[in-house]
């Protein structure tokens, strides 16, 4: 089980709680977490990554365990603490706009 925390905008869009629990098929990677998230909340398709290229939106960030994972390859394994549910995978709206 992986815990995912969403920012306010995405909670209202998805009708989801701020923290949700996901069961991942396969390796616990960023890509598989996002796939599971979009499967459970189809309205999030296109909100975190481009629907066609699957590239992360420029102002969306992924943090976990005090690290910025945004630039890591999407198929890289997430930290063990995220994979076993001890730490959440944070979806962050980047600070932009002053």
């Amino acid at each position: 089980m992986i815990r995912v925390k969403l920012p306010d905008h995405l909670c209202t869009l998805a009708g989801a709680d701020h923290e949700i629990e996901l069961h991942i098929q396969g390796k616990p990677t960023q890509q598989n977490v996002l796939n599971a998230l979009e499967t459970r909340f189809p309205s999030l398709k296109g909100a975190l990554r481009d629907p066609l290229t699957k590239k992360r939106r420029p102002f969306v960030r992924f943090f976990a365990c005090g690290e910025d994972l945004s630039h890591q390859p999407p198929d890289l394994a997430l930290p063990l603490a995220v994979a076993n549910g001890e730490e959440p995978f944070l979806v962050i709206a980047a600070i932009a706009g002053g």
Binding site: T12, K45, A47
Partner: protein, 370 residues
């Protein structure tokens, strides 16, 4: 009992203002989608409880919402706007080729004939159509792939397709307007398109009478007489009496002919409204807010200011932020960058703010309910 719904899109959510046919007491519902930019909300002319809303954010992209109960509840629908075929390029601000990139939907136009059909005008300029109530979208790529497409250039607000007019009489005739490319017309339901800008003169482009490249801000039509179109351009107010084949200027005695919004009275096809502003940089006129009305189809304009602030007022009204109702005494509505929505119950003779202090208003649409 008859009534009116004013669908208001703002920088930080949507609001639905409702009243009975007297239009004296208003209720305000919202914010809907708080924090999101709502570029446009519009209802189906066939089913007034079917509403579509374009919801976007610089962080989380484009989303589309649909309501089937007049805006009480909403559900996300399809948000995949994929350009058809090879994307190609248009001109960037510096004249270099730039790939088409989808950014957002500026305008939604539900069909007159099918409640499941709705059109979406996008930035970068393209026209999309859904025939399943917004669940999926297909590009009408004959527009973007027409001969002039690679030469289109964005205006200051982006290269947006902001106006879609479906001809209610001539089957298959559609007009769109793009900043800063101009007006385009299709006579085959959106398959093929031709520029429709003859008569436009724009001093800010190398050839002022070029076939495309004009920064058309908005066009409007009266349903009973679709061959007549009115236009607010980036300077100049114009009309066409032949479905866009030819345009001529009707700015007449306006204090300035720059502006964004233009609309037509619901029952008088020769009565037109504009909101002039000083220039492309000064989006106000001398601290007073005035609507100008022509009852002669242009050229002769009268200022309408009763009930509107006449001192220290420096708000602007964007291109999609004026609309009319179709009650016997036509109501006119507009929303401002200062978050007020003003309404007139008497065709513009007098005005009052029906709500104040909303986020900056991006769009106003009006539904007249049976």
């Amino acid at each position: 009992m008859a009534g009116v719904r004013v669908l208001t899109g703002t920088r930080k959510g949507a609001f639905i203002l409702s009243s009975d046919e007297h239009r004296k007491e208003w209720t305000v519902a919202g914010p809907l989608f708080p924090g999101w930019e709502i570029y446009h909300i519009k209802g189906s002319p066939l089913n007034p409880n079917r509403l579509y809303a374009s919801q976007s954010s610089g962080w989380f992209g484009q989303h589309m919402q649909r309501s089937d109960d007049g805006g009480n509840t909403w559900a996300p629908v399809g948000n995949e706007f994929i350009y058809d075929g090879l994307t190609g390029t248009h001109q960037w601000y510096d004249g270099t080729p730039h790939p088409w990139e989808f950014k957002r939907v500026w305008h939604l136009e539900p069909s007159y004939t099918d409640p499941e059909e709705v059109y979406a005008g996008a930035e970068d300029a393209a026209l999309f159509r859904s025939t399943d109530g917004g669940s999926s979208w297909s590009e009408l790529s004959g527009l973007r792939n027409s001969d002039s497409g690679p030469s289109w250039q964005p205006g200051a607000g982006g290269m947006c397709l902001h106006t879609i007019i479906l001809d209610p009489i001539t089957q298959g005739q559609i007009f769109v307007a793009i900043s800063a490319a101009g007006v385009f017309r299709s006579r085959d339901n959106g398959v093929s398109w031709k520029p429709s800008n003859k008569g436009l003169v724009s001093a800010y482009i190398p050839d002022p009478t070029a076939e495309v490249g004009h920064c058309v801000h908005k066009i409007a039509m009266h349903r009973s007489r679709p061959e007549v179109l009115y236009m607010q351009k980036h300077w100049d107010v114009l009309r066409s009496d032949d479905s866009g084949d030819n345009w001529y200027e009707i700015s007449g005695n306006l204090p300035t002919d720059f502006g964004f919004a233009i609309d037509v009275h619901a029952h008088e096809p020769e009565t037109v409204y504009v909101l002039p502003i000083k220039s492309d940089s000064e989006h106000f006129v001398d601290g007073s807010l005035r609507v100008f009305r022509s009852k002669t189809g242009g050229n002769e304009w009268e200022p309408l200011s009763k009930g509107l602030p006449q001192t220290n007022c420096y708000v602007n009204v964007l291109r999609d932020a004026m609309a009319v109702d179709s009650l016997d005494s036509c109501g006119i509505y507009f929303g401002t960058s200062g978050g007020q929505v003003y309404a007139s119950r008497d065709s513009g003779d007098s005005w009052e703010a029906i709500v104040r202090d909303l986020p900056p208003v991006l769009s106003v649409e009006v539904q007249t309910l049976p």
